[in-house]
Amino acid sequence: MAMIELKNLWKEYGNDVVLERLNAKVEAREFVTVVGASGCGKTTFLKLMLGIEDPTRGELLLDGEPIPGEPDETRGIVFQRYSVMPHLDAVGNVMLAGELEASRWLGRVFGNRRRKLRDDAIAMLEEVGLGHALDKYPHELSGGMQQRLAIAQALIKRPRILLLDEPFGALDPGIRKDMHELVLRLWKEQNLTVFMITHDIEEGFFLGTRLWVLDKDRLDPQAPQAYGARITFDLPVGREDQKTYESISSRLDTTARAIG
């Protein structure tokens, strides 16, 4: 059975159709990158995956059951911004998941258990290359380091699914390259299933194992919200395929201009 299944999935807000007729199956350990023009429902799809929005029609299944209707520990998330807690230092941020699990009321642990959590957190921070910044607060870290911290914080919880919402959108190109390597390495090491939202088609095309293009295949220029986006391309990727890349790229540009 597929881990994630989209069955004729629709999402509408009143008369605005955002997503329509999404059908797909995703197996465990796939790395799906979702690209599309701005306003084409990428964020809505992510909200459905998180459970903070419900489908208006159709089903979104996790292991054959409707996906839980609120965020929980099955799905880790890294946002573009605000992913880490500004009031905790790096170790504190990574220890958070363990503390929340160990102490339902205080949300804090002490003594030996704390030492254990701390050791685990330090190991995770070293894994993402933040071994030198254990006591630093997020505001003392660069953008790339903050995203490394966010990834460490999410992964220490060992989620089955990792959702990445344009995680590298605000980073410099050089740093993005490093982050790509980090994500690919962790994906392989930790047997994750990854959904990554990005508006950078090139990133989507070359990072994951599978590329979804969310796009409106029917477009009414007078009423751009009348039809929703569909998965117009569902391709195995990960290898150089310049021609397909250019064709998708130009098509998305057209949609972006039409939505305006």
């Binding site: 965020p71 807690m85 009031h87 958070l96 929340l100 339902r104 949300g107 607060y137 505001h139």
Partner: protein
């Protein structure tokens, strides 16, 4: 020559410019005071600096002839205790209800309209009701401060709680947090420095309510003294008291600002 808007005074210049209005005010005061005193040496309205110095000496450094107490110390301690308890309790209530309202939609829907309504009631207009409920003694004075500033604190902290990024609330849930943990480990620590900032803003209002409460009925306190001697136009006592209140307020404000920077450096760096 640069445009005026692009020119900045140097550090020395800033000091001089900052002090200048105070010096001008002082000169103006002394001139007006001299003019009045030349006409009537007993004129109470604009006492000379000497007369104010005598009054400070008498109120602060000599025991009262009648009671043997140092009046200014006694007044200051009484007022500080009232404002301390009043603002402290208000801050605690503001913190609890501000976070609860901001974080939990069901509580917000229930309490928010009530708090908005209450915050628009001028407490001084319903004093007789407050007298009946809280009496006329210490409790009444503290309660006037609490009634006066708590609705503002709750509303502000509710707004600050609502401003916590949605991303972090989702992130907490993906890390396994329940509602209580989101409140205690996300909302509470993030609101604490904002509580200090809001309390600093509310302190000005708190002083107004304190002085008003002490004017209504009291046996000691800074506001009591001012309103008592105001009857006799003893500006030589009132003016130093006003300056002392200003100084106390400044010191409390400075102290809260320092505590905030010391305890919550991340807040000041990111905002």
């Amino acid at each position: 020559m640069k445009k005026f808007i692009n020119r900045h005074p140097n550090q020395y210049g800033r000091w001089v410019l900052g002090i200048l209005p105070f010096v001008l005010l002082l000169i103006l005061y002394v001139a007006a005071s001299n003019a009045r005193l030349a006409e009537n040496p007993n004129d109470p309205l604009l006492p000379s600096l000497m007369q104010m110095g005598d009054a400070i000496q008498r109120m602060a450094f000599e025991p009262s002839k009648r009671t043997g107490e140092y009046l200014m110390l006694q007044d200051t301690l009484a007022s500080l205790q009232r404002i301390g308890i009043g603002v402290g309790v208000s801050a605690l209530i503001g913190l609890i209800f501000g976070i609860a309202n901001g974080a939990i939609p069901y509580i917000r829907a229930t309490l928010s309209p009530l708090i908005v309504g209450v915050s628009l009631v001028p407490p001084m207009a319903i004093l007789p009701i407050l007298f009946i409920i809280f009496g006329l003694e210490e409790l009444a004075k503290v309660m006037l401060i609490i009634v006066g500033i708590t609705p503002f604190l709750i509303r502000d902290l509710q707004q600050r709680t609502l401003e916590i990024p949605e991303e972090q609330i989702i992130k907490m849930q993906t890390l396994g947090a329940n509602t209580w943990q989101i409140v205690t480990r996300l909302a509470l620590p993030q609101i604490m420095p904002r509580l200090l900032a809001t309390t600093r803003l509310a302190l000005g209002t708190a002083w107004i309510f304190l002085i008003a409460a002490e004017a209504i009925a009291a046996t000691e306190g800074l506001g009591y003294r001012i309103f008592l001697v105001r009857r006799y136009l003893s500006m030589d006592v009132i003016l130093p008291y006003v300056m002392w209140i200003t100084l106390l307020a400044l010191m409390i404000d400075f102290l809260l600002a320092r505590i905030s920077r010391w305890r919550y450096p991340w807040f000041h760096a990111s905002s």
